[in-house]
Amino acid sequence: MLAEFIGVLLILGLALVVAGLMALAPKLLGPRREFAEKQEPFECGERQIVSPHQRFSVKFYLVAMLFVLFDLEAVFFYPWGALFRELGWFGFAAMGVFTVPLVVGLLYEWRKGALEW
């Protein structure tokens, strides 16, 4: 069981080394000539007037909330899908019952305009 994860750990180590070297290389090889104007965040030639760390549209929060709901529901589908043939029509009906509130919720959000951009 754990032996399978040796591969994952090895490739994770390799990925970290590759990414780390790539991130470190320009610090050693590149030039370094810093001055205040150059360090300013890009703003189409203007000075930055508003800070970016402000409120942004509530729609993104809605999407994040819907994601949490639907992704959790999706996770329930995986073990059911893998064991589908053993569960037979009973499993099919059970998942149908589980999905009805999901679809009703989706239709409700749709009608309420939560999916409009």
């Binding site: 320009p26 930055q48 989706l106």
Partner: protein, 383 residues
């Protein structure tokens, strides 16, 4: 054991990252030039040799390494530094669970061509894929730039939306194969099914006049068992990668450059690498799930061993199978890369509202319907 795993890991990482990745940056330019009927990517030369622009990837690396690595004022330095690494690492470690060959017997030794044969491999791919969202979000949030932040918010909303539908669109595949383990899925696709077998089941058709119809077979690939799932999954996984036509998070004409706005030198190169690396990784995932993985159509492993094994011995047959299977897998990955590139230069960028509508109003309902249609068909045909 650990040496074997390391060799397999180095093989797949070197092929995908060392060979395909530089070639893709070249193909991206050259295919664009061909499709737009212009000469392109022919300037980088070494002592007068341009080699059809094949030197461009090397020139890219030299340039990215020799540029100044800047951090904008007011940025969160630590998060700004590690965000590109967070974007790249998931793309590489996805390769761990991709089976690039089957299981082969050499005398007493068994060789299984997958780095980590995890029994929830598909879940691993989805989990690791969702980690890539953090790279984009951290990059935009830490760089103290309005465009960067807008890009990263868009990227996060787009990626988490398509993650839901990506997960739902492949449930039908789990139902057909009855497993989440990618190696088992690939083995299940190493066979054929009778296209008109269902006629016999439903109408009780049989007899000699039915034999000519029954002769027609297709490989038992995901694309034939789940055609709708294939289209939905491919759309979702391409939207996850944020490449055109789904590049709303970095749309140049709206957001200048999006979430990697304030990155320069090789740390911009890391985002660039991650995006390009995802192309062959997506190719490998789609090939494994829907295009039969390492299998060869109409020529199963048993057929090859049966034809060759008697005359030349078991070891030779295994070796031949291994070479043919790895070749077949890489060919399918190349095919998917070509397809993604052709799509990238064919379609214009979607508007952001179109991207989100496609996800929540089209793909989500269709993929839920697909699950239940597949379920009903599977149970009905199983009897």
């Amino acid at each position: 054991m650990i040496v074997g795993v390391a060799i397999k890991m180095l093989f797949i990482v070197l092929v995908i990252m060392g060979l395909f990745l530089p070639l893709i940056t070249w193909v991206e330019r050259k295919q664009a030039a061909v499709m737009q009927d212009r000469i392109g990517a022919n300037r980088a030369d070494l002592l007068g040799v341009t080699a059809m622009g094949l030197l461009h990837p090397a020139a890219d690396v030299v340039k990215l390494l020799s540029k100044e690595d800047m951090v904008p004022s007011g940025a969160n330095r630590f998060i700004h530094q590690i965000a590109p690494m967070v974007a790249l690492v998931p793309a590489i470690i996805t390769l761990a669970v991709i089976p690039f060959g089957g299981v082969y017997q050499f005398g007493d030794a068994t060789v299984s061509l997958v780095v980590a044969d995890i029994d929830w491999g598909m879940l691993y791919i989805l989990a690791v894929g969702s980690l890539a969202t953090y790279g984009a979000v951290m990059a935009g949030w830490a760089s103290n730039n309005n465009w960067g932040l807008l890009g990263s918010i868009r990227a996060s909303a787009q990626m988490i939306s398509y993650e839901v539908t990506m997960g739902l669109s492949i449930v039908g595949l789990f139902m057909c194969y009855g497993t989440l383990r990618l190696t088992e899925m690939a083995v299940a696709q190493d066979s054929t099914f009778r296209v008109f077998g269902f006629l016999e089941h439903i109408f009780g058709l049989s007899g000699p006049w039915f034999a000519w119809l029954d002769w027609i077979t297709l490989p038992a690939w995901g694309i034939f068992l789940q055609p709708l799932g294939f289209i939905l999954f491919l759309t979702c996984i391409m939207a996850e990668n944020k490449r055109p036509p789904f590049d709303a998070p970095e749309g140049e004409s709206e957001l200048v450059a999006g979430y990697h706005m304030e990155y320069s030198a090789m740390r911009f190169g890391l985002f660039y690498t991650a995006e390009f690396l995802e192309v062959p990784v997506i190719g490998a995932i789609v090939a494994t799930l829907f295009l039969g993985g390492w299998s060869i159509p109409w020529l199963s492993t048993a057929d090859i061993v049966g034809a060759v094994g008697g005359a030349f011995g078991q070891g030779f047959a295994s070796g031949l199978c291994m070479i043919l299977h790895v070749g077949s897998f890489l060919l399918k990955v190349v095919l998917m890369i070509w397809f993604q590139m052709a799509l990238r230069w064919t379609l214009p960028r979607f508007r952001y509202d179109q991207v989100m509508d496609l996800c929540w109003k089209m793909i989500l309902p269709i993929s839920i319907a697909n699950i239940f249609i597949t379920g009903a068909l599977v149970l009905w045909l199983d009897g």
